[in-house]
């Protein structure tokens, strides 16, 4: 499907159960490197659950059980020999609600580098990360200020800077703009276009226009069948194709607003 792109993440027969409730069923797809892949679908269909599979955040949910494979450049991150902490250093995450630490702007960005024993110049890393997150100009004069004093949009860009500072290959974003106003949202979307030069981005969004605007590929998720509560990816492909000539009837209904 995308011969021109390297595959960063490859999902094979993925299932997720919360206790005896099956949340995700039989998902297989491939995420191209240095592209933006959007995951869309009605709420509750398992988008966040799916996204958390990519950096093993589901490990933190005691009831969650993941089966199947997620290959990261060929290595199954669910292999028993793989350390989930290391996985998260390569695959970063930005959450729905901005969640900066109650520390200074500087310390927020430096956090990941510090725990990873970063040996380089910390000031440089902080500046580089803040620039990459398009936040540097706004905060360069008060890096010592509490991150909590920033606006919501700035906080979210700080969270992106914080993720970048760990120097990951992939950045996962779970509805990163859903708590932001339209202008802040636009800034995040512009930023994503910049970031995609260096990073593989997977973004969950319930905003169809946003998916159409920013993404190169789109995965459409739905509950797998009537009466089931397990979500699955029903269609995956280049974004223009998903939005103009979807193969699946349910995708078409959803995109044209006849659903959910």
């Amino acid at each position: 499907m995308f011969d021109k792109h390297e595959i960063a993440l490859s999902v094979k027969n993925l299932n997720v159960d919360y206790g005896d409730f099956r949340a995700l069923e039989n998902i297989s797809l491939e995420i191209p490197a240095r592209q933006i892949t959007a995951i869309i679908g009605p709420s509750g269909c398992g988008k966040s659950t799916f996204l958390r599979c990519f950096n093993r955040m589901n490990d933190l949910v005691p009831t969650a059980r993941v089966t199947g494979e997620v290959l990261f450049y060929g290595q199954n991150i669910y292999d028993s020999k793989v350390n989930p902490v290391e996985v998260r250093r390569h695959i970063g995450m930005v959450f729905q609600k901005p969640n900066p630490f109650p520390k200074s702007i500087y310390e927020n960005v430096a956090y990941g580098a510090r725990i990873n024993g970063y040996k380089g110049n910390m000031d440089e890393l902080v500046e580089r990360s803040l620039r990459a997150a398009a936040l540097w100009d706004e905060v360069k004069d008060d890096l010592k200020k509490s991150a909590l004093a920033l606006s919501g949009g700035q906080q979210q860009r700080l969270c992106i800077a914080r993720a970048i500072a760990v120097e990951p290959q992939v950045i996962l974003m779970d509805e990163p703009a859903s708590a932001l106003d339209p202008i802040a949202t636009l800034k995040i979307e512009e930023l994503m276009q910049e970031l995609k030069k260096d990073y593989t981005i997977v973004i969950v969004t319930h905003n169809m226009q946003q998916a159409a605007r920013v993404s190169d590929y789109t995965a459409m998720m739905m509950l797998s069948k009537e009466g089931s509560r397990a979500g699955t990816v029903i269609e995956f492909g280049p974004t223009p194709q998903i939005f103009t000539s979807p193969r699946d009837r349910r995708t078409e209904d959803y995109i044209t607003g006849r659903f959910g």
Binding site: V85, R89, N99, G112, R114, V166
Partner: protein, 308 residues
Amino acid sequence: MNESQHVLSTLLRPRADHDRREKLIRAVLLLFSAVSIFTTLGIIAVLLRETLLFFQEVSIVEFFTETRWTPLFASKKFGVLPLVNGTVLVAAGAMLIALPLGLLAAIYLSEYASDRARKILKPMLEVLAGVPTVVYGYFALTFVTPLLQKIWPQTQAFNALSASIVMGFMILPLVASLSEDAMSAVPQSLRQAAYALGATRFEVTLRTVVPAALSGISAAFILAVSRAIGETMIVAIAAGQQPKLTLNPLQSIETMTAYIVQVSLGDTPQQSIAYKTIFAVGMLLFMMTLMMNLISNWLTRRYREVYE
């Protein structure tokens, strides 16, 4: 009746009944709060009056600089420092046990224990906090002191150390419980942020949860200190009645609280200057714990503001 008429009729429902009951409840509640406030004020007033009377006879400079405390002897000296020394010595020892162990217990409960373990352990801690302190006192005297004497034969029958140790374990649940509350109040989203940056559980705890809960934890610590300073039963039973300026915990000392007990229960005539000392000592004790509680309160308020 259509929708809007229905809404109007509920909004305009007579409210007199309702109001009267509300007023009654409020009056009763006000009365009870007033009683407790006036009781406290009354105690402070008595304490203050007696203290002022005491300081008409004894100079405040002597009180704070003299190094001997002998009001019950023929040659009376009124230097409170030995009593303060005893109090601080025992409290400091207790804190050496209660603060680190309490914090570790809180970290375990909040960050490491499974839900099931937490549901069993936390109530157990709270039960431990409810054991009458007189039981702890006898435990110090009859179990810990003999043990200490085996290790250090020079240990006196009444000594600061055994009181310290037992008091430390008595206060530990308070520290653990309050610190755990502070740590549990740290939003889950911060832990997730840290994990997503590649932090281990230990790093999440040490670099994110504890710092974010720090003002709550410090509040717990200060409350614990205040509790240790005010603790009476254990020291009255196990630490002795010898006001002494010493840092040796194996010796018999006397704390401010133990002194007050000694005089209150003894045969000192009520009008004597010796008797009045307990008000001055009590006032000082009150000021010390009040200050601690105010600081603790202030810290707790500060930490609430962080997430709101």
